[in-house]
Structures are given as C-alpha cells and as structure tokens.
Symmetry: C2
Subunit: 205 residues, 2 copies
C-alpha cells in the first residue's frame, strides 16, 4: 500500500496539488472536508466509519479547489472529540489497503508506522493571499483580513500538530520533500511531485 501525505500552509495550493496528484497516480483521495464530514456524521463508532467509507460517501463528496475556511471566524482548532474521530477515520481509510493521497489532518503523524511519503507545501504570504482571492468564495475580504485569517488557520495547524507529536509542523526535517509554490501554477508541479513519490516507493536503501 502506498500512502502520500500532504501538509500545507493555508492558501499554498497544497490541496489542489494533492487532488491532482491522486488523479495522475490513480490513487484514492481524502482531505479535511471528507474526513471531517465522515467523523461528524458517524461519531466515533468504527463500524459506522467503515460502512460510511464503503458506501460511496467519499466519492460522492463534491471536490472543488475553493477554500472553505478562510472567511469563517470560528475557532479553527478542532475539539479533542473531533480529533479522535478524525484519527479513527484516517486509520479506517488506511485499513482499506488501497493506495491514497491524504491532505491535512496530521495524517502523516497518524500513519507514521505505515511509512507514507510526506510532503509539505508552502508559499510566501503575497502568493497565498493572491491564491485565496482567486479561489475563495467571493466574500470580498481585504488582503489584510485574508492575511489575518491565513495566519490564524496556520497557527491552529501548528498547535494541533504539537498536540499529537513532538515534530514541528512545517520543519523540513519532518518531511521527505518541501515544495515552494510561490508564483507557481500548481498544475506544473504535479508531474515532478509524482516522480519524487514514484522514486520513494521504488527506493532501494
């Protein structure tokens, strides 16, 4: 089983890269929206998680490249209960035995013993603001408001990772590859990233 985990700064295009990578590799694809939806629907009952993952729930989940959180003012740190449910969903996904790409939710930590290929995607702030403005629902946030929200979400990601692991979120040492998407079109990065993933799964030492 081949697993690719993508961690990313908000607005860096990591989710789009993950979806496109899954498509070209022929892998299943999971992200925060899917995992959270399953976790919220089924709570922590593993039997229901499995049923939910198997009955086509995931493939029916509409994927867009739109951002879904940047305009929210809610606390972006999930509750402990939701984190536990998300973890069980992620483990259930891996137990299915299929190759998959998973974006976010600290999946690299949760799946560490299954030896995933770990990617971190980042960009500079102007590039992330630009991407959010192009892709977010049109709520007309100012650049300043967007920057504030981006920082808030990424701080939550850093703190949530701290909760689960001693590994620092975003530190290159904790990933096989970090990709800077500043001024880059995500589509161009799909094939190079696939080459790295392929070489990782073929590795000889």
């Amino acid at each position: 089983m081949k697993i690719i985990t993508i961690s990313r700064e908000f607005g860096s295009g990591g989710r789009e890269l993950g979806k496109r990578l899954a498509d070209v590799m022929g892998f299943c694809y999971y992200d925060k929206e899917i995992i959270t939806a399953v976790a919220e629907e089924v709570g922590m009952n593993e039997h229901y998680i499995e049923k939910s993952l198997n009955r086509g729930f995931v493939s029916a989940f509409p994927f867009t490249f739109h951002h879904t959180m940047v305009t929210h003012s809610v606390n972006p740190i999930p509750s402990a209960e939701l984190l536990i449910a998300q973890k069980k969903v992620i483990e259930a996904i891996a137990d299915k035995g299929e190759d998959f790409v998973i974006v976010g939710r600290n999946a690299d930590i949760i799946l560490k013993n299954r030896n995933p290929f770990q990617i971190f995607v980042h960009a500079d702030m102007p590039s992330k603001i630009k991407r959010c403005m192009q892709q977010a629902e049109p709520e007309n946030l100012s650049e300043k408001e967007l920057e504030k929200n981006i920082k808030k979400i990424d701080t939550a990601r850093l703190r949530t990772r701290e909760l689960l692991s001693g590994d620092k979120w975003g530190a290159k040492e904790n990933y096989h590859l970090t990709i800077n998407t500043t001024n880059r079109n995500i589509k161009e990065l799909v094939v190079p990233t696939k080459e790295f993933a392929d070489s990782f799964f073929r590795r000889t030492i």
Copy 2:
C-alpha cells in the same frame, strides 16, 4: 541562462546530487572545490579569473564524491578575502552565460537577481554519518568525531550565510525545493529533481 543552486548539509549527498543533475541536464558543474581553487589561484583579479575559467581549468579539475573537509580540524569559516574572491569567481561563471549547477558557496544569494532554481538537501544525522563513513578518506574517525565535525561545518555554513544575507540557511522558505536524503540512494533522486528544475524553467506564472 538556467542556473540551479544547491545548498546542503554536510554529508547529505547534495554535492553528488548536484554533479549527477548537471550530467543528466547537460549543464556545467561548479562546486566549492572548483570555486575555491580558482579564487585561491587568481586572487581577486577578475581578468585572471576569466582567463582561468576559460582555459579549461575547471573541466580539468578532478571530481570525486569523496568528502574533503570532514577530517580537517581547520576553522571551516573562510576569510573575508576568500569570500570576496569566491563571489567574484561565481559572478564570472554566471557572466559566461552557460547553463550550470553550482553547489555551495552561497551561490543562490550571490546570483539571486539571475533567478536560480534553489534547492536545499538535508538528511538526519545517522544518515549523514553513514554517508561520510562510506565516502570520506579512510581516516577512521569515530561516529562521535564525525558528528562533531559535521555540526561544526554546518554551523560555519549557517554563519557564513548570515554574513551575506538575512535569509536563514536551511529554512524552507528560502528555497524552491528541500529534499530529504535520509535512507535514500542519491541516484534515485536525480530524475525527480530534474523534473522540478525543468518545470521551474518552463513556469508560466
């Protein structure tokens, strides 16, 4: 003109990756040994630097994957005079207008305005010690001594970069790509790295 700069932790295999990458891309190749040799030979006279670079000095310079510093006890921070001479050599290389890969010597900072593709190569300490033991001249340093020397050399690199730039050495934000070579065979990473470099030079935004 296409320029690829490689910065690397000592023992991570960055130099081998740079040489192999230059070979598959058909680019010229320069590294610390070459630049320092030219700088020491010619001092700071740019006319002589150019003559030295043109008369086949570089291609005659023997390349090995062996490490050349880990067993030395000299202070690994170059003198200011040598840094200035190295900078002039690097600028003279770029002025030749050929595509090239350059490893070390803060070439990414020196050549920033020529828009190089910037790579950072790193690995965990056990992996770097193993690589040094396999490749260094057989002086039979203990693992502990090797670790001490590796840390000393990398601290010197960090401090030398601080001198030239506000950019932090090794921070992912300052590179287009960071590659973790822990438990990897460098040969396997050449084609994926080439794909990233190609996509960078073809980029559309």
